[in-house]
Symmetry: C2
């Protein structure tokens, strides 16, 4: 099919509709030429912009079948597509009600008033009768028409050209009438009392009679003369001439909005002294004057007019049948919009020019014996317009009743809205039976409403909503710059679509904000329902690009600022081992990670497979799926990664180095304890563990090592009592303090109490220490019970003592916070790291420097020693912490260290044997790869944690993670 | 300082203010008891909720100094903090204007009317005189007070308790008066004509006199009696009794809003027949009746009242001086809010009960000879209230003038708003001089406005805005669950803060939406300015957590759906070599990446350093910074990663496997050609290149290899003409077609034309081929010139021919798209990959299977062979593509292949020597690590691209990236 037959004419036929015949004159009468011109212009510009957007969408690739719904749903994805489809369906269905009501109105009011039931039906006092007439006849029409659609849809399609002919002939007849009236004015007479228009009835006594139409040819002529003359005389003469010769234009230029019940008046007689005369009582020869049956305003009339510019999708709906859809749709649609816009705009001017204002405002033509106003203009006969309008309206109704069920069927067949499934079924030839039934039912609602002026705004809402989404789809795709967005139609621009979208929203809300809200709620409801049903259509949609852009933008924004102690939160990288079935060996790690995060922040779960990546792609994919499943089972929201590497240590190092993206980078690495390392003959066995610790430390990441992970509570457990015991040996950025707080956010650990144990030596003032620590914790806003454990340090050699002496001295010399400094300065303030001695600085640095002491001022401005500084350089800690490094690594220190471990373990087991969780510092691993030292280190940890049920070993990432400052 | 002295009393003093004395009676008169009760309640609830949020913020860590501004800026970050700070400053400054105007009003109107200038100043006709009085005296007050602040700020602080005493005594005096009035009603008389209140003047003749106050003790008594009685009699009796005994309550219960100029009337005389009598002319003994000087409504009165509930931050401002700020601030502030709420609410009831309605509505007490209405209630003397109100108002003004400059100084010292820098300076003792000057200047603006009823709403806006942010900060931090959010004050909840925030916004917009918009614009302006100035304060802010959550959420959402051909866009992973200075060797790679992306989508730039990560952390960091710099220089928006690995190939493989996060994963890898590989004696040299190709292929990533990258145009070049030539040898997912389209989106390549060359053999119908290809490209919506090059295949052996025959046969048997299928089915539809022969399937698979043929239907529904399927299995391509694999790898095929390369190169150079860019397929590398085959492969590529200026070799990622479907 060609552009003209396939797109242009169907569009024109769909756009031109019942409103033109039965309401446009009334709108012009009420809103005046200028405002109604503006109304029509607004509506036409909106549809023009929408058709530009639609052309772009329609020419962006082959649409196999289905037209506009398919286009939108494929562009915006199933959720929006479904919502728009349903709105479009509802709009089309209510449009069928509107056509039927219009047809009934033409039939009963103008063609055959004899057919009315329920007595007289014009005038506001008989409104109920009028509406009941509409209801009864409307239902009859609906039943007849849907039966016709059901049994013979092919006839409907064949009659399409007949209906189009009716429209064209009617419009031509009106134009002809307008031209005729230019020469010979018609003298249909109106009857006024004062300036009020009267209903025409048999034996009336009127005071004034006026011509309804006038010879506008005179006006053109005088305008021409004026133009000629104005070269000689002043232009004002022209105005005077125009003024005198054409009263209609002047009367009709401005708005005459009426409230319901207000009398319809004329401007011509406004100086008539009798204008305000009270009406004589009834029975004195005439009934009464005519009054407005509905209130009107700019926005009300806009909402009533809008349905007559819809129908721009008629062409694109036939995309399948077009020879060259990508060329025909833009040309045909935009051509049709421009043509119809011209027809509407010229009609506004003509009606305003030709017909008397009061008559225009008389909706049902009561003042001239129930004539359709447009029909009295028509040439050669009013019957041309009457029959034409009636047939075309019936035709439009039939087409709506044909199209709407097919649309519903298409949506139902897409299967994105499960409960619509039944409407996908049809007769043997595919015609939708159930969908037709539903359509009839919804259409019946419109008919029961019965008032065209109420139904029209409903249609307006649905279509505006739909057009808004078309514009949105176009604007979004242009802005997102998807490579697939390459429309053949080049004359679109995102600003046009954006303006179109804004106009749609504006028109929706100004025409009636409550309908608009209802439409929005319906759309949002459908959207959410489809999202809830989880439609995973393989269409691809423009919004995926939006999500991508959003995610990318959010990430890029994030990176621009370095994080701050106050904002520190654990961003976990969980390293999991997988077994031979590619399933995580210890899924409890995931559930513990979830408990630690309270559902917030980043979690990346990674696993390294040994092998050659070129061969192991499927295996890696499978492992990733298993990880994903395990994460879902444990309600861990996050990301998973599987790396195939020849060397597991290398792989872990890579993952620790490069996991995350931009600002979403992990700062804490969690991995399991290598149980059974002693039994395993392969020393590599714990090497991976040590390498992971080393790599994490090098990356300045914090480390969490849960031991006996299989004893940890699962996601659904709820520990009813017990304690989380923190053994605070080294101040290591404060993570030890933060962990119990974080855990207790989760319901599993909610009822656990926190206890903090710290180790003092005999020479320490442990009571003062406890008090200081209590103040510190108070300022940290952490509730915990504090216990100071006294331990002898007789096992620490004199040499170490000297060194330790240095440390303490140095740490005392650090500058304190002075109250004049602002908080920001304090936060940036870092003291020199205390060093044990220059000779072994290299080794201790990496262990102790990670704990930068923190200082604070109490609320009275008095300076107090930071508890952190006070605690972190005790001799005991030195042994605990730096004992694994070469300078301390004589055989004797080794024995001493083991002794320390045993002693500390005794104390811990004694105090915390009943604790739900024991958290303690993880000392740094030995440098270099001295096997015996590595084995010693592992042994030390084993001894330290022996006999404890659940242990979490923690090592800070070299920065403070908790602060007393707000 | 304790809770009472440090927080509670300062708060009470700051909250109770001038509005209570000079406007509350008037508000009660106009809004009625019920509505004014509601106004006061609304305001008090808002401040209560805000003080709860503020308590939470204030107890979340130590605030070293500075109070509320510091709290908010540290919680919300510099941008919001600065905006809120400035709003708070403006609010406080305008509050000083309000206090000064209030003090002047009390002085001139009630204490010493004799001091007035400019003639009589009451009544609307003398409004100009009134305002000028305010302006002159206000300016004097301002000058005096600011001088006092400048020279002796310590006196101001000392007088604070005096001012507090004044307030307390005044309020006690009012309460005493109310109690007194319960027993002996005062008989100040009012003068009415009709029901209209008259101004009191010397020789007036009035018609009615009424008592102003009444014995409400009677009412209580009757109520008590009624309660007693109601057990016996009907409750309605009670109502009747109440009605008869207390007219005031009834009159004052409901609103009597007045328009400007409307006469002040009483309800008592509303049935007076003389009510509508015209006023006698002037000069007949009385002046005229009293009229309202401003319009009033619920919202207007709300805006005027609100400033009298501000001041809740007075306590937290002193956080530095409190013994235990974290305990005192919540208790004291909330206590003060509750106390003042009780005072206001009880005052509303008392005023409404005790004073006659008409008198309440008489703002300046004109009807009783210019008495302050609250003062006539007072006991023992009106002077207690008058002097008390005056002194406390002056005191409040002094405190505002002291506080505001200090706040400004604090903001200026934070140095987040550069142009405020000057206001950070001060006298030697730190007192702000310039800030005081600015404050005076702004305060003067308020005084020039002169109308308390206009200034108050301005203050309302600033404070509401500020309170909104306090609530927002609390709600956000609670919802984001930052670990640092651990307020000591536990009785907050995000819903309370949220409700508070909504109430603030609502009050802002209902009280006056234009002021609200102005305030919002000011806030947004400051926000943007601070953002623009790039304040990088090391505070850490709650919004960083929001960004993180957003990014995480966006990423998590992204992952839930697999991507689709339609949404395919290149997500680049650029692998860069760095030189010994850690700078990228070929930054042109970045600029080419930028041209390819048109600024959208993901770009990850990675580099691998050889070494041990444990030692190379600083190096890796430095390299990352260099990459970042290079990316910024080339306007590449994206992320950078540096991996340190022992083995570069392994490292590249890791990066290719694990780069990106969740849905933001690369799908295309770009790396440079190893120039000079022939000269380099180390065979490893090109091994890294081959391994990168292999790893990318294994990951199903597309590969882009630009050759002669240093010749590529830079970011600022603009190619004015020329072509992008695509040599389409193998259909490999369509990336070759997409690339020119993407490049031409960028201004560098915008003017280049695309040409597509394809190779046909002699037996092909090259004319038909060209036509088919043209249709295919038309459906792809890609504009390109097409050229089919005919080449002899005489060099291809018979053996290969047979195999190729198989391929063609198989590819013909693939099922075609049938029109009944929906688009989604088509997209999922994959045919069996054509295989050459079962024996060498393994090898060809990885090369050919990546090109799944695509089929399409033309618009008439006729089935056509997909061009892709038709082109991709030509014999020539077989040689090109699978030639490097074992089964083809005899010495003779090697020679033949080289011959092919030479021939093809001849053709390409011949056709494309002038092209700006030549794009061609990159054949798959040989499997296994046979060195000679690898060298042959490299040689083949060198020969193929010899003599070409800029070459881009492309290999698809095993999936279609371009589709004809919409």
């Amino acid at each position: 099919m060609s552009t003209i037959m396939g797109v242009y004419l169907p569009c024109v036929q769909n756009i031109l509709g019942v409103i033109l015949f039965v309401r446009l004159t009334w709108i012009v009468g009420l809103a005046g030429i200028m405002e109604s011109f503006f109304i029509v212009l607004l509506c036409c510009v909106t549809t023009l912009l929408t058709s530009i957007s639609m052309s772009a969408i329609a020419t962006n690739g082959v649409v196999p079948a289905g037209g506009s719904y398919f286009m939108i749903s494929r562009a915006l994805g199933p959720e929006f597509g479904g919502a728009v489809g349903i709105l479009f369906y509802l709009g089309t269905t209510f449009a069928s009600s509107m056509y039927i009501l219009g047809a009934v109105e033409i039939l009963l009011n103008y063609i055959a008033p004899i057919m009315t039931l329920f007595g007289p039906f014009t005038g506001p006092e008989n409104r109920a009768a009028l509406l009941n007439n509409f209801r009864v006849y409307g239902t009859c029409f609906l039943v007849l028409m849907s039966t016709l659609v059901f049994v013979g849809v092919k006839y409907v399609n064949k009659f399409a050209s007949l209906f189009l002919a009716c429209v064209v002939i009617s419009i031509l007849s009106i134009y002809a009438g307008v031209i005729e009236s230019a020469f010979g004015p018609k003298t249909t007479e109106l009857c006024f009392i004062g300036n009020r228009l009267l209903k025409l009835s048999g034996d009336m006594r009127c005071e004034k009679f006026y011509n309804t139409t006038c010879g506008w040819f005179n006006m053109i002529l005088s305008f021409y003369i004026a133009c000629k003359v104005s070269r000689l005389v002043l232009p004002s003469v022209m105005v005077i001439i125009l003024k005198t010769i054409h009263q209609n234009v002047l009367d009709n230029s401005f708005a005459h909005y009426l409230r319901v019940g207000a009398p319809i008046t004329t401007d011509r007689l406004k100086d008539n002294p009798a204008a305000d005369v009270q009406p004589p009582e009834l029975g004195t020869g005439y009934r009464t004057w005519l009054v407005a049956d509905v209130s009107s305003s700019f926005t009300i009339l806009l909402a009533i007019f809008f349905p007559s510019v819809t129908g721009i999708m008629a062409g694109s709906n036939r995309s399948g049948d077009l020879a060259d859809a990508q060329r025909s749709i833009p040309k045909g649609t935009i051509g049709a919009v421009l043509t119809t816009a011209f027809i509407y705009l010229s009609s506004v001017v003509f009606f305003g020019t030709v017909v008397d204002g009061a008559l225009l405002r008389d909706k049902f033509g009561d003042s001239i014996g129930n004539e359709l106003i447009v029909s009295i203009i028509a040439w050669p006969s009013k019957w041309v317009v009457l029959i034409g309008a009636f047939l075309s309206t019936v035709g439009a109704g039939l087409q709506s009743l044909t199209g709407a069920p097919r649309l519903l069927q298409a949506i139902a067949k897409d299967n994105i809205i499960p409960f619509l499934k039944v409407f996908g079924r049809g007769k043997l030839n595919g015609d939708p039976t159930w969908a037709l039934l539903l359509t009839c039912f919804i259409s019946l609602i419109g008919i029961i409403i019965a008032d065209l002026d109420v139904v029209a705004p409903i249609i307006t809402m649905f279509f505006l909503m739909c057009y808004m989404f078309v514009n949105l789809a176009c604007a979004l795709q242009t802005l997102l710059n998807t490579p697939n967005w390459r429309p053949r139609f080049k004359f679109y621009h995102w600003t046009l679509s954006f303006v179109g979208m804004v106009m749609c929203i504006t028109l929706m809300f100004i025409s009636s904000w409550y309908y608009a809200l209802v439409a929005l709620v319906i759309a949002a409801g459908i959207y959410k329902y489809i999202e809830y049903c989880g439609a995973e259509k393989e269409w691809g949609d423009g919004l995926r690009g939006l999500q991508l852009t959003t995610a990318r933008y959010a990430l890029l924004r994030l990176e621009s600022r370095p994080p701050h102690t106050k904002n520190w939160r654990p961003q976990l990288l969980v390293l999991l081992k997988v077994d031979e079935n590619l399933q995580p060996k210890h899924p409890q790690m995931l559930s513990f990670a979830q408990q630690l995060k309270a559902g917030k922040g980043l979690t990346i779960v990674s696993s390294v497979l040994q092998g050659n990546y070129l061969d192991s792609y499927p295996e890696a994919q499978a492992a990733e799926q298993e990880l994903k499943k395990a994460m879902e089972a444990n309600k861990v929201k996050g990301f998973q990664q599987v790396l195939v590497s020849q060397d597991v240590s290398q792989g872990l190092s890579s993952i620790i180095q490069t996991s995350g993206l931009g600002g979403l980078r992990h700062n804490t690495v969690m991995f399991g304890w290598p149980h059974g390392w002693r039994q395993n003959p392969d020393p590599k066995n714990y090497k991976v563990f040590l390498d992971a610790i080393r790599a994490s430390s090098a990356c300045h990441n914090a480390i969490l090592v849960p031991k006996n992970i299989s004893n940890f509570p699962s996601r659904n457990d709820k520990l009813e009592q017990g304690t989380i015991d923190v053994w605070w040996v080294v101040h290591d950025g404060g993570l030890l303090m933060l962990l119990p707080f974080l855990l207790r956010q989760n319901k599993v650990w909610k009822n656990c109490k926190t206890r903090i144990f710290t180790v003092a030596q005999l020479e320490d003032n442990s009571i003062q220490m406890k008090k200081d620590l209590a103040v510190f914790l108070y300022h940290l806003r952490i509730d915990a019970e504090i216990e100071v454990i006294e331990m002898q340090d007789s096992d620490i050699s004199a040499k170490v003592h000297v060194k330790v002496g240095n440390v303490v001295q140095r740490s005392r010399s650090v500058r304190f916070y002075s109250p004049n400094k602002t908080a920001s300065e304090t936060d940036q303030y870092t003291t020199e790291s205390p060093r044990v001695a220059p000779t072994d600085g290299e080794d201790t640095d990496s262990l102790v420097s990670s704990s930068s002491p923190e200082h604070h001022v109490d609320t009275n401005g008095k300076e107090v020693r930071s508890q952190a500084a006070a605690f972190h350089v005790k001799t005991f800690q030195i042994v605990y912490c730096v004992g694994f490094n070469p300078h301390f690594c004589s055989q004797s220190t080794n024995v001493r260290r083991m002794h320390t471990a045993v002693k500390l373990n005794e104390v811990i087991v004694n105090k915390s044997h009943a604790a739900q969780l024991v958290i303690l510092n993880l000392p740094g691993p030995p440098k270099g790869s001295n096997e015996s030292r590595e084995a010693n280190y592992m042994e030390f940890l084993e001894v330290l944690t022996e006999g404890l049920d659940r242990v979490l070993m923690v090592r800070g990432g070299g920065r403070e993670v908790i602060t007393i400052y707000s």
